[in-house]
Symmetry: C2
Subunit: 201 residues, 2 copies
């Protein structure tokens, strides 16, 4: 059986990453997703391995030390992170996985697992990005400029990614990412078993 792809998409705030990923999940409902690990206690009916993997703060810090956490953040005193092993398990089981990671997260994942396919989502222009950030209406002019500065810093790291897709509109960007996934499944390294099987006939 062929390993599933691990596809990680990053891009600056406001680029429309969430919408493009939602579109891809609609096109390919079989795509796996990451379940985060958190150190906050479960609430109500929440189950370990469903909404989150629930771990103690100490366990979480041990996972960080072991290199098991691709990226993490702290919020109201609790850790939230993306664990590596479940992604590898899905991939080895033949299921492709689509991830929404920060730029640093995609780069870290590729370092840990070099078969990862990393895609950087670009805005059509910086003006367009500023327009989208301002258009949210919830962010002050000052915050928009802060996000723009962050965006430029992130775009400058696009060279660390395998692919670059410009998000002119959601259907086009999702179709380009779908083509990337289809092409990656045809790379010789992922098809060598098929070739060996054929030659063994």
């Amino acid at each position: 059986m062929k390993n599933g792809l691990i596809v990680s998409i990053s891009g600056p705030s406001g680029v429309g990453k969430g919408t493009v990923i939602d579109k891809l999940r609609e096109m390919f409902p079989e795509l796996g997703r990451s379940i985060s690990v958190t150190s906050r206690p479960p609430r109500g009916q929440e189950q370990d391995g469903v909404e989150y993997y629930f771990r103690s703060k100490e366990e979480f810090e041990k996972l960080i030390e072991e290199g098991e956490i691709i990226e993490y953040d702290q919020y109201v005193g609790n850790y939230y992170g993306t664990p590596l092993t479940p992604l590898l398990t899905m991939s080895r089981g033949g299921q492709s996985v689509l991830l929404d990671l920060t730029v640093a997260g995609s780069v870290a994942l590729q370092e840990k697992f070099d078969e990862t396919v990393t895609i950087f989502l670009l805005p059509p222009s910086l003006d367009e990005l500023r327009g989208r950030l301002s258009g949210r209406g919830t962010e002050s002019a000052e915050l928009v400029e802060k996000r723009m500065a962050e965006a430029k810093g992130e775009i400058a790291q696009a060279a660390k990614f395998d692919y670059v897709v410009t998000n002119y509109e959601v259907e086009q960007a999702a179709a380009e990412i779908a083509a990337i996934m289809q092409a990656e499944n045809c790379r010789y390294e992922r098809c060598s078993d098929a070739v060996d099987t054929l030659l063994a006939q």
Copy 2:
């Protein structure tokens, strides 16, 4: 401007390479094609650079020495070959080129120009390939077995190619190759200008 892709497709005799390439040219009429060089004299209205590039035998041999001929063959005492420079000129002019080369030709082209995208077309099975070769009805059982032995030797070289596509049927194979071309156009190395332009805004 972005360089055009140079896409080379190879596969064993009987795999259906010609049909898949015809389908791709129908889908993408803008794709460039190679014009062969020959040492045979022009016939009738044939023009240099249209049907063929016409060169003397000595000139052809000089082109071989210079590494300008990707692959060549001799037929009734005349050379026929695929020249490198016109492909690079089309690519640098932004036009993508689709080529039908032997396995050795694809490998030689990739050595000369490492941006080449090489695709190996596989049959669904060896039985299916034998069926297609026999089905032509023009080839003796002996010749079919000779072609099958050649096919195995060629399939064993698939590891030298970037991509492997199985030709279950022409539409599926052409669609996979179209996805590969779309994905290759999104590779960071081919999009770095777009990123630089964005950052310069």
